[in-house]
């Protein structure tokens, strides 16, 4: 028999407010929201250009709470994380962060993310795609607890040249000694905040982690302090520009997780993505190792490369040609870089293009000029990643402005 108790309310439809939502609403003059894992995430707050330049010139706040976060703890936590990722995590000391990828049994990349080693036996994984069942599979048979802490931790990315100074203004003693990829605990606005010197911008910057209940307290402390430091709340679009310049890849844009592809050949190996530097084949067994050993000896089927394009129009969704005739690949992310003053992009090139054949490559750009489309072939050149990296990203202590 159905019980008398009142039924559970229906779950919310549409976008959910995140922990900073009340403040974001106030700043979001464009009312332009996008969907990030079901959360309302601002795409633009007022003007993309100004938000972007604030990243490179002042400092910026971006809500990263929707990011998937997992706690991996217990006596075997190190073994399990080491089984998961392709880097040798035994070398990661407590209080440090590492950018990692992890692969399936066929050596295809499942996702990328950052691994925080909070202590000998406590790790936190931050990534874009849900990974709970993946992590549970990897951890099966080990003495480890794995839990989804996405909703238990709010996150803010504070990025830009003045970010350190801003935090110092708030009285965060010793923040200037925090090295890139370091983690330390502080207090902001009376709330405990874990700060990691990490980010997605290739610039000086920090990520602030706190309990969702403290989110607004921290926000409200940061904003007034930021007044002097040109702090600006930004949306996804500005960040996207910075991340392309900084050489980071974005799942679902530049590559697809092996877990999500419908067509078997759409998955990508670290060698194809140019991420072989993250693969430590000599460490104990980890997921996909046997396949990666084989792949490391083969020529990748295709390669994701960084290109610079002649002339000034960004090559969104463009096809890449060899000698202007043979289709050999396509662009995934493209941008006129306002800081580098270069026309940059990432592109997939089918072998041997981008590997043994690197010259005479062209992108086909469609330009709309007063509702008329024009097709333009522009020459492009392979270049090294990242497009932009500033010494201030790694300087410790950072300059005081």
């Amino acid at each position: 028999m159905a019980a008398k108790a009142k039924p559970v309310p229906q779950v919310a439809l549409g976008l959910e407010p995140g922990p900073f939502h009340d403040r974001l609403v106030a700043h979001n003059r464009q009312q332009a929201w996008m969907n990030w894992m079901g959360y309302a995430s601002p795409s633009v707050l007022d003007t993309v250009e100004f938000e972007y330049f604030a990243i490179r010139n002042q400092s910026t706040l971006f809500d990263i709470s929707p990011m998937c976060k997992y706690a991996i703890t217990g006596p075997d936590a190190e073994s399990v994380v080491n089984r998961l990722v392709t880097r040798d995590i035994r070398k990661l000391k407590p209080g440090r962060v590492a950018y990692c990828i992890w692969c399936d049994e066929d050596g295809n990349v499942v996702d990328d993310g950052t691994v925080f080693r909070l202590s000998e036996t406590e790790f936190r994984l931050c990534c874009q795609e849900p990974q709970l069942s993946w992590l549970e599979d990897i951890g099966w048979g080990f003495d480890v607890q794995i839990s989804d802490v996405t909703r238990d931790i709010a996150g803010l990315a504070l990025q830009g040249p003045t970010s350190c100074a801003l935090l110092k203004d708030l009285g965060l003693a010793g923040i200037e000694t925090l090295k890139p990829f370091g983690i330390a605990g502080f207090e902001i606005g009376g709330a405990a905040v874990t700060i990691s010197r990490t980010g997605f911008t290739g610039d000086l910057g920090y990520e602030l982690w706190m309990e969702p209940g403290d989110a607004l307290k921290v926000w409200d402390a940061l904003m007034p302090a930021g007044k002097l430091r040109g702090l600006r709340v930004i949306g996804y679009e500005a960040l996207e520009m910075a991340r392309i310049e900084a050489g980071f890849l974005l799942p679902k844009v530049d590559f697809l997780s092996a877990q999500t592809v419908l067509r078997a050949d759409r998955a990508n190996t670290p060698y194809e993505l140019g991420l072989e530097w993250l693969v430590a084949l000599d460490k104990p067994h980890f997921n996909g190792r046997r396949a990666l050993v084989d792949l490391s000896k083969q020529t990748p089927r295709r390669k994701l490369v960084a290109i610079e394009i002649e002339r000034d129009k960004p090559a969104h969704n463009a096809l890449v040609y060899h000698k202007k005739t043979r289709e050999v690949g396509q662009v995934t992310s493209a941008l006129w870089s306002p800081t580098c003053k270069r026309n940059i992009a990432y592109a997939w090139l089918e072998a041997p293009y981008g590997q043994s054949v690197t010259d005479n490559l062209w992108v086909e750009i469609y330009l709309q000029k007063e509702i008329r489309w024009q097709r333009r072939m522009a020459r492009c050149h392979l270049v090294a990643k990242p497009f932009f990296v500033h010494p201030r990203r790694t300087a410790t202590p950072p300059a005081d402005y």
């Binding site: 073994s79 089984r83 399936d104 049994e105 993946w134 599979d137 990897i138 099966w140 048979g141 080990f142 104990p284 067994h285 997921n287 996909g288 046997r290």
Partner: protein, 503 residues
């Protein structure tokens, strides 16, 4: 590390022994390690046998090992007595049945012969390594081509018929061809015994064909009673190993498979002793071998998931009744040595007893087969649909409930039997699991189903005997082609190992 061996075989079941014999005859120095104090695995010894009435070894294997097949298949074929709800039992030997009407006799003979032909066509794959998916070798493709050719040689009608029934259920096939009754019941028992499927479950024609593919000097699809009993078969196999210079140690349990540089390096015994060898063949079930003996740290997450997902829910309990004086059959006559009694009056009855097992209950009226050992005066019962995951667990009460429901059915056919019982014992699927390294207590180490056959046996990525850690091979019933006493998995695994070693 002590000693030097070319290969270690974990488990002295018949497949382990066959594998060891094949390697030893190729000049490999082999060591067979058996946790129990006798060899033979589920064939057992005088005290207890999981499989008291085996099928015959594949003739090709028996020939290669130079075994005396005539002796091993016994002087006469095993006769099946199929008991209906009343009246005298039907007597079945191969394609012959007596005790039913002429039309059924005729239809059954035709069906039996047809299934034999179809089973032989599929049986080509028995001694072949299953083809790799998407990367089959030339030899594997040749095996497939041979099977396709054999199927074509059946003729258009019979080939089409095979393709129609192959994934179908025994229920429909037998109802179409011979109608329900004790005869269909006996055949459906062949199709379902040891598995977690009822006669209505699609896939049971394939298991029937699997049984029909067994060959002996008395014909196909028959159990055999070796001269000297199952012990004679065990002895013949272990002699093959030792006469070729192989060594067998009993009473030593393997604790861990040792790995060095991603290669099998030997084993560590529970005593702590380590024995080195570059080749390790495991006759234990895939789950035991991989998840326990090897260890998950050497395996990828998806691989482990598939291993865990492998269907291996054991359904068979074995009951032994020691009998002071075997009574006569109600219908007259005595039970003879080497007869097989089947108590599955109809397919309907089998399906009904499967119903309870689906939900973790014991059937009210279990279906079972039995043999009587006239010298040991022991009635060995193999009761079907007694689930490994019994609700409330396999308590003494549950076991005695099973024993009395089996005895009740026996009593109907053999009046006075229950009062003649001097001792009895029940081995549940859980007992079989703990005693024989068979996960889930499953006879075949894993359900014989299309999704767990050929290149999917025991599961995707672990077929073809070779495990991800080089030098480690599966040689038990969990590997292709599967369970029963065919010896094929052991034989094929040893050959795969030899091929990899360049022999």
């Amino acid at each position: 590390m002590s000693g030097r061996y070319d290969a270690i075989i974990i488990g002295a079941g018949h497949n382990g022994l066959v594998g060891a014999a094949v390697l030893a005859r190729k000049g490999k120095k082999v060591l067979v390690l058996e946790a129990r104090d006798h060899v033979g695995g589920m064939l057992g010894d005088a005290s207890f046998r999981v499989a008291p009435l085996p099928y015959a070894l594949r003739p090709e294997i028996a020939r290669m090992l130079q075994l005396d097949q005539k002796r091993l298949h016994g002087a006469k074929p095993v006769e099946t007595l199929a008991f209906g709800s009343d009246g005298p039992p039907l007597r079945i030997i191969g394609g012959q049945v007596t005790g039913t009407d002429a039309i059924t006799e005729h239809d059954y003979a035709i069906l039996h012969a047809r299934l034999g032909r179809q089973a032989r066509a599929l049986g080509v794959m028995m001694l072949q390594s299953p083809p790799g998916l998407g990367k089959a070798s030339l030899g594997e493709m040749a095996g497939l081509a041979k099977m396709a050719l054999k199927m074509r040689l059946l003729g258009k009608t019979e080939m089409r018929d095979l393709l129609r029934i192959i994934l179908s259920n025994a229920w429909d096939l037998l109802n179409d061809e011979i109608g329900d009754g004790p005869l269909a019941g006996a055949l459906a028992m062949d199709a379902t015994l040891g598995g977690a499927m009822g006669p209505r479950s699609p896939g049971t024609v394939l298991t029937l064909l699997y049984r029909m593919a067994s060959q002996s000097s008395h014909g196909h699809g028959l159990r055999v009673m070796p001269e000297g009993g199952p012990d004679a078969l065990v002895k013949a196999l272990s002699d093959c190993v030792t006469s070729a210079g192989g060594e067998i140690r009993t009473g030593v349990a393997v604790e861990k498979i040792l790995v060095d540089q991603d290669r099998a390096a030997g084993v560590r015994l529970q005593s702590g002793e380590e024995i080195a060898a570059p080749l390790v063949l495991s006759n234990a079930s895939p789950k035991t071998t991989l998840l326990t003996l090897l260890g998950v740290e050497h395996l990828d997450g998806e691989f482990i998931r598939r291993c865990r997902n492998m269907a291996s829910k054991g359904m068979v309990s074995r009951l032994d009744f020691d009998i002071a004086q075997m009574p006569s059959l109600r219908s007259g006559g005595k039970i003879e040595q080497g007869q097989r009694l089947v108590f599955a009056p109809t397919m309907q009855a089998i399906e009904a007893s499967f119903n309870a097992a689906k939900y973790g209950d014991l059937p009210e009226r279990p279906v079972f087969e039995a043999t009587y050992d006239t010298t040991a005066k022991r009635l060995c019962v193999t009761a079907q649909f007694t689930p490994h995951d019994l609700k409330g667990g396999w308590t003494d009460d549950a076991k005695s409930a099973l024993a009395s429901s089996v005895m009740a059915a026996l009593e109907e056919a053999l009046p006075g039997l229950s009062s003649a019982v001097t001792a009895s014992r029940v081995m549940s699927p859980v007992d079989i699991e703990t005693g024989y390294g068979a996960s889930g207590g499953h006879w075949h180490h894993g359900e014989l189903r299309v999704d767990q056959l050929l290149m999917l046996r025991p599961f995707d990525g672990a077929a073809q005997y070779r495990m991800p850690v080089k030098g480690l091979y599966l040689c038990g019933a969990g590997a292709h082609p599967g369970g029963d006493i065919s010896g094929a998995p052991g034989f094929n695994a040893a050959r795969a190992a030899l091929r990899d070693g360049g022999h």
